[in-house]
């Protein structure tokens, strides 16, 4: 079909990725390669306490014995873990005390990315923690949050200021031995965000972290930990971009969420790492472990993700539903184009009585991409009356791409109710014709239909992100369909 040939051709220009610039800024790096010395170097740089260094070293020793997982439906050349920098930071004399002290070059970078940190501090709305390569460079709205007892700061700062909290929760959801990439992260994580919402506090604004990979040949390993005490609520957003480079860069993050009684965490991601060019050259390898533990009664964790970037996505945000009546939700849109590969999904582990979960996953595959939904719903014997509903829909655009669904459903309690459905289809000629007939251009029509296809997911995003995500859906598929 002529329309579809255009797809591949137009996208080949790679113009769709507007975040591909590089910021020229002086960097400080750890020596290339990975060894115990690298781990010690990072820990020393961060002036970490002994227990954390020990923890890192245990992880590193374990990692050396582990093999890279091969079960995901992604293919990539072997990664040389010695041929990368594990720590890179913009050079500054001391940490900035306020935005005025932040390197103007950095502020300009974030402005260019559409995240004007200064402006955001003026306007009410979103508190932002900006992570540049390996370190957090700026956090806005800190003061206002502190007054309410909410901690929102860089992980490295939290280790210094709130060591007990960090020690109590770090690794309690994703242990250092969890999997190859999480273990690597545990050994070399450089920074990330720490959020702590005390009992009964409803965080009045969206908290947001903006991740940026800038330096070449550098991996990014951030670690995010969010703890919501009883009766609290927080909504957290994360965004990510990286420059266009011919090499592949590794991003292996770990996110841990903990909710206690009646607490709720809403975690939204718009992932737009550089996806590589039309021939699949360059792009980020995104191997991420995200997991939330609903420890308290009636607690809730909601994951929303819009995955449009990365050459390879390997990501399964999960919920461990321990607390009686706890709720886990997962909403995902994964868009792959050109030669991108995404293997993403979720795990819902029902342990407590009356736990419920809902999974809505939308996969859109275009060009020569492969998109896989891989998910697990497990009902443990004691999860009396547990409930799960899963819906996975895939949309294929063009005949060179693939869309796959690999759900695992395990139920060990008769009173549980588990439902799963999946469909695969393409944009129907009837839908297109209907829109064209009403005066829309083909491109507008496709964008409308695709946005409609993703609607259920996009509408769970906070408003600030929903607008960005909708545009992103359009951009990612630009030309591919119309």
């Amino acid at each position: 079909m002529a329309m579809e040939t255009k797809t591949v051709e137009e996208l080949a220009t790679g113009e769709a990725y507007k975040y591909g610039f590089v910021t020229d800024i002086e960097m400080e790096r750890a020596p290339k390669g990975l060894s115990e010395d690298t781990v010690r170097f990072i820990s020393a740089k961060k002036e970490e306490p002994d227990w954390l260094l020990e923890w890192r070293l245990r992880a590193f020793r374990m990692w050396k014995t582990m093999a890279e997982p091969t079960w995901a439906k992604v293919t990539y050349p072997p990664i040389d873990y010695q041929d990368a920098y594990y720590f890179a930071a913009p050079k500054t004399k001391e940490g900035p005390k306020s935005l005025d002290e932040v390197d103007p070059e950095l502020l300009a970078t974030y402005e260019k990315l559409g995240i004007p940190l200064q402006e955001q501090e003026m306007l009410a709305g979103v508190a932002v923690d900006a992570v540049f390569d390996s370190v957090s460079v700026a956090t806005t709205y800190k003061k206002k949050l502190e007054e309410m007892g909410i901690v929102f700061c860089a992980m490295s700062e939290a280790v210094q200021k709130y060591p007990d909290l960090v020690r109590q929760y770090l690794g309690s959801v994703v242990p250092y031995s969890d999997n190859f990439f999480a273990t690597l992260n545990s050994a070399v994580f450089s920074d990330g965000t720490f959020v702590f919402v005390p009992k009964g506090v409803r965080c009045p604004m969206e908290l947001s972290t903006y991740f940026r990979i800038n330096a070449a040949q550098t991996g990014q390993f951030e670690r995010t930990l969010i703890v919501a005490e009883a009766g609290s609520y927080v909504s957290y957003l994360e965004g990510c971009t990286a420059p266009m480079r011919d090499e592949n860069q590794l991003h292996a993050a770990v996110v841990e969420l903990v909710t206690l009684d009646d607490a709720e965490i809403k975690y939204s991601t718009v992932q737009n790492w550089y996806p590589g060019d039309a021939e699949g050259k360059g792009g980020i390898y995104n191997f991420v472990t995200k997991r939330g533990a609903c420890r308290g009664r009636n607690s809730k964790i909601l994951w929303t993700q819009v995955e449009t970037g990365s050459a390879i996505t390997w990501k399964y945000p999960s919920c461990i539903l321990q607390g009686e009546g706890s709720v886990g939700e997962f909403y995902s849109v994964a868009i792959t184009n050109n030669r991108q590969q995404a293997d993403t999904g979720t795990k819902m582990i029902h342990i407590g009585k009356g736990t419920s979960s809902r999974i809505i996953a939308k996969g859109i595959s275009a060009g020569r991409a492969d998109s896989t939904y891989r998910g697990l719903v497990r009902i443990q014997p004691k999860a009396e009356g547990a409930r799960n509903y899963t819906q996975c829909d895939s949309l294929l655009i063009g005949d060179q791409c693939g869309a796959h669904t690999v759900p695992y459903i395990e139920s060990r309690n008769p009173t549980a109710n588990v439902e799963h459905e999946a469909t695969t289809s393409k944009i129907s000629e009837d839908q297109l014709f209907y829109c064209l007939q009403r005066g829309l251009s083909e491109e507008e029509a496709v964008s409308l239909i695709v946005n409609g296809f993703c609607r259920e997911v996009l509408q769970t995003l906070p408003m600030e992100f929903a607008v960005e995500a909708q545009k992103l859906v359009g951009i990612s598929l630009e030309g591919s369909v119309g």
Binding site: S394, C401, P407, Y408, H420
Partner: protein, 438 residues
């Protein structure tokens, strides 16, 4: 072979029992099977395709080939699929027994050959045997290829019609642990039509291990109705692979009913090679006690415009476990594919478990594919509705369970087969509900 190989790949020593006087094709098949089985060994939990079905128990009994059945064994008519007027071929412990079977079929254009003596098999057996089932990743089918001892080959000439259903009856009865590996082949010529029923029955006795392979080739416009009933003993391992290849416009109506066995795995692999091929595969299972019932289905849409529909339902009680793994693969050139899959499980007790993995792998864009899976207990509202109408609880539950599985029986195209399967199911459910009711 070293000791390690014997541990991970047991039964290799049983090769000594295999007759060495064989034609080339049989020897080649054995060599191929042996190579794969040596390489892959008995599947363990880390092997994805066998993730939910463990075969560890197989090594706990000293299964031996060639164990003969007690004298005077007869076909227990009350337990087989009730197909009046069917032409029977009876196997006992994997070996064909002429004296229990009906005399040669006189239908025109139909050839039935016993495979006990491979040397005597006609050319078409040599040509097609082993051609449909790819042994890679199929270690148990590979073991069968290495060790198979008996079986039947059926050929329908172009346009031939089997007048009566063909009923293959497999009886297992042994006083010491016995293993049997039978292998069968069916070739349905262009525009031919046949109905084949398999009944696998375990009679009381020692543990048995049946590992069978059936290969079926349906040429253009051929129509095959195929049903399989598995009612083995609570000590029996029943592992079966059925592989089919369908040419253009061919139609396969399959049904698999599992009512008994310790570990049962029915693996069906269907290749829809050309336009208009159609596969309708349904199944039901009732698992109680410690039974483990696995239905694994792989549908390969290798040609455009083919359709597949897979529906399985199971009732699981006590500490039994049900497994459903269904995969639909749509290759890049298989445009206009219509592929659907459904699995529903009813859990009757707190120790029961179900594991489902319905999978789609799709490389063509103009397709309609979907799958659904559910797991739940009986709807208490429905039970209450019946109670409110004066129906005793045990009966209400039986009615609802029967209705739940009854849907699948409705998928069967042939009314005679549907009636036979329905009768077998009702017989079985009367038993399970007596235990679980109330």
């Amino acid at each position: 072979m070293d000791a390690k190989t014997t541990d991970s790949a047991p039964f290799l020593d049983r090769l000594e029992a295999v007759d060495t006087d064989q034609p080339d094709w049989a020897a080649a098949l054995r060599r191929a099977g042996l190579a794969v089985y040596r390489e892959e060994g008995l599947p363990h939990a880390k092997v994805e395709a066998w993730k939910y079905t463990r075969l560890d128990g197989l090594t706990r009994s000293a299964f031996e080939p060639g164990i003969s059945a007690p004298d005077g064994i007869t076909v227990p008519d009350g337990r087989i699929a009730d197909m009046a007027g069917a032409h029977r071929l009876v196997f006992v412990n994997g070996c064909y027994r002429a004296e229990l079977s009906d005399d040669g079929l006189a239908d025109e254009g139909i050839e039935i050959v016993n495979l006990g003596k491979p040397g005597a098999a006609p050319g078409w057996v040599a040509e097609h045997m082993g051609r449909v089932l790819d042994l890679d990743g199929m270690p148990l089918a590979a073991l069968n290829a290495a060790l198979w001892g008996d079986g039947v080959a059926i050929k329908l000439a172009d346009g031939a019609q089997l007048q009566k259903p063909l009923h293959l009856i497999f009886l297992a009865a042994a006083s010491t642990p016995a293993m049997f590996q039978s292998r069968h082949l069916l070739i349905a010529g262009r525009d031919s039509r046949a109905a084949v029923i398999e009944s696998h029955l375990g009679l009381e006795g020692a543990p048995t291990f049946s590992n069978s392979v059936v290969e079926m080739i349906l040429e253009e416009d051929a129509v095959l109705d195929h049903a399989k009933l598995v009612d083995e003993t609570e000590h029996a391992y029943h592992i079966a692979a059925t592989a089919l290849s369908l040419a253009g416009q061919a139609r396969y109506n399959g049904f698999v009913l599992t009512l008994g066995g310790r570990v049962v795995r029915n693996e069906t692999r269907v290749r829809l090679a050309a336009a208009g091929a159609e596969c309708c595969l349904a199944g039901a299972y009732v698992a109680d006690g410690e039974a483990h019932v696995d239905n694994t289905v792989f549908i390969d849409h290798a040609g455009p415009g083919a359709a597949s529909r897979v529906v399985f339902k199971g009732v699981i009680g006590d500490t039994a476990r049900g497994v459903f793994q269904g995969k639909t693969l749509v290759r890049q050139y298989a445009q206009k594919t219509d592929g659907h899959q459904l699995h529903k499980a009813l859990l009757l007790s707190s120790g029961a478990e179900v594991n489902a993995k319905p999978e789609l792998e799709i490389y063509a864009d103009d397709v309609k594919c979907g799958h659904g899976a559910t797991a739940a207990q009986l709807d208490e509202d429905m039970v209450f509705y019946l109670l409110a109408r004066g129906i005793p609880e045990a009966q209400a539950r039986q009615l609802l369970t029967e209705a739940f599985l009854g849907d699948v029986v409705d998928e069967i195209a042939s009314p005679e087969i549907a009636a036979a399967m329905s009768a077998a199911l009702t017989r079985r459910l009367a038993g399970i509900n007596a235990d679980h009711g109330a």
